[in-house]
Amino acid sequence: MPFIPHTPDDVRAMLAAIGATSIDELFDEIEPALKSADFSAIDDAVEEMTMLAEMAARAHRDETGPCFAGAGCYDHHIPAAVWDIAGRGEFLTAYTPYQAEASQGTLQTVYEYQSMMAALTGMEVSNASVYDGGSALGEAVLMAVRANRKSALRRDVSTHRVAVAGACHPLYLRAAANIVRNQGIELTQTGFGTDGRADLDALAAPEPPVAVVVQQPNFFGLIEPVDEVARWARANHALLIAVVNPTALALLAPPGEWGEDGADIVCGDGQPLGIPMASGGPSFGFICTRRRHVRQLPGRIVGRTVDRDGRTGYTLTLQAREQHIRRGKATSNICTNQGLLVTAATIYLALMGAAGLRRAATRCHARTRDMVCALTAIDSVRERFDGPFFHERVIDVGQPADAVAATVAATGIVGGVSLGRFFPELANCLLVCATEKRTDAEIAAFREALAGALGR
């Protein structure tokens, strides 16, 4: 019996100790009519060897050539040591660190993670992570509404409108809107200007929002005027939620320094920090904030303290905000963090350091410039927006991009993400990205495939 260790003798002895004659008898409190679970639709078991062969055949079907898609999930190099260590059974098969004395490994790792994320974002505190970037934005919006409720009420401002400045990831916005909708909170999108960047004049209508969301770099890869957005938010008593790419933070000003006062909440997806793309999950969502908002921060938080003998140790803290104590009044229903991925990200950041992360960031930036040069050398391909960018770019291919992407895909290359499904006015556009992994030869192959698809 796979994974069940009982011998017939074991079963006999155990039933005797219980005083039952059969395993079935242990279910005698359940009405017989209910015990008819029909499993006939499920196949017979296969042994590990066959299962792995079946799965390998399917995985192999999906192996592609180089990936030029980004849009929130990036094909970075992951140092070999990251998953060698994070994948150890001691990390992999532990549970939530409820018994702190038996979980110092996970707890200290999370404390180090919180420290690194606070340093990257320029905030004072971080939680132990939430599910992903989209749900992190949803939680950040709920958090901002809670944190600014009293002040908004005093000014007679609706506490139910949060404004999104410019092009924030459309899938993050959908997830976040679905998460906050049932509490009557509305995410208003102000759209983007002709230059692809935030249009500040649209933010205030119809009345000042309780919080403003801005993504840096934005969904199109463009650098947003975040200092101005931060100033606008402060002047209008709105909290500022920053959505950021952690790799970019090695290079770009941290949200804690935007404008004069910085952002209030910083969130995003940690996938770029040593997590494989893996169809988008599991990765992890991060939320960092100011010390003054820490009690509104959802999810687990680890604190450093001392034990009875005065030794340094780590424990979950501020648990009275959480569902297992606060029940219906908790800050969120969230229980899990993405502990394993946080472990990997911590090791990744330890190995990369500020210098390594900056090199990865600048290398991505340089590779993307090279790629954009190569692609726009094709007649009829042009950059859709001007202005500085980090490691993604919108290119206009002059014909419906869905079909173009499909033709490129037939060569095995994942040639960016076609934008028509998110923005009808950008139906001829692809969002493309080149990470530090992309070689000159791969960029040339992409150029060739794209030219071929365009009949050039």
Binding site: R295, Q319, A320, R321, I325, R326, K329
Partner: protein
């Protein structure tokens, strides 16, 4: 056994109230602070906030528990004990003194008469304790 000063009035949700020159001072009882354990955080109402008798006016947290503070009277907050922000342990050390929560200008001081006196409150605590065993 926890202390239950006889000059105070009590709510069954474990707040105490004391009338001082027309102002009602509110805190939580010795019994309540003992059951909660070490208090680590107190969320106070804001000065100027309107209060309804029996409605939430704050939150108190220990490591393993959290409880709402209900206002025993209707009225308006005229002072909050800011000391508790930095030193929540005062609630444990001196629940009827330094550990007070807020002061209210009551709409109707007669509401105090609807609260429990010390004897009735002690009885209430004993029955809660018995239930817990």
């Amino acid at each position: 056994m926890s202390e239950t000063p006889t000059e105070l009035r009590y709510a069954s949700s474990h707040e105490w109230a004391r009338l001082e020159d027309g102002v009602v001072v509110v805190g939580i009882s010795d019994f309540a602070q003992e059951s909660l354990g070490d208090v680590v955080y107190v969320e106070l109402p804001e000065v100027g906030q309107e209060l309804q008798a029996g409605a939430e006016a704050g939150v108190i947290e220990s490591v393993k528990a959290a409880a709402d503070i209900y206002s025993p009277v209707s009225g308006k907050v005229i002072a909050a004990n800011e000391i508790l922000n930095a030193a929540p342990e005062r609630v444990n050390q001196d629940p009827y003194g330094d550990g007070w929560f807020f002061k209210a200008a009551p709409t109707d001081a007669a509401e105090l008469d609807e609260l429990l006196d010390a004897d009735a409150y002690r009885e209430h605590c004993e029955s809660e304790e018995a239930e817990r065993d």
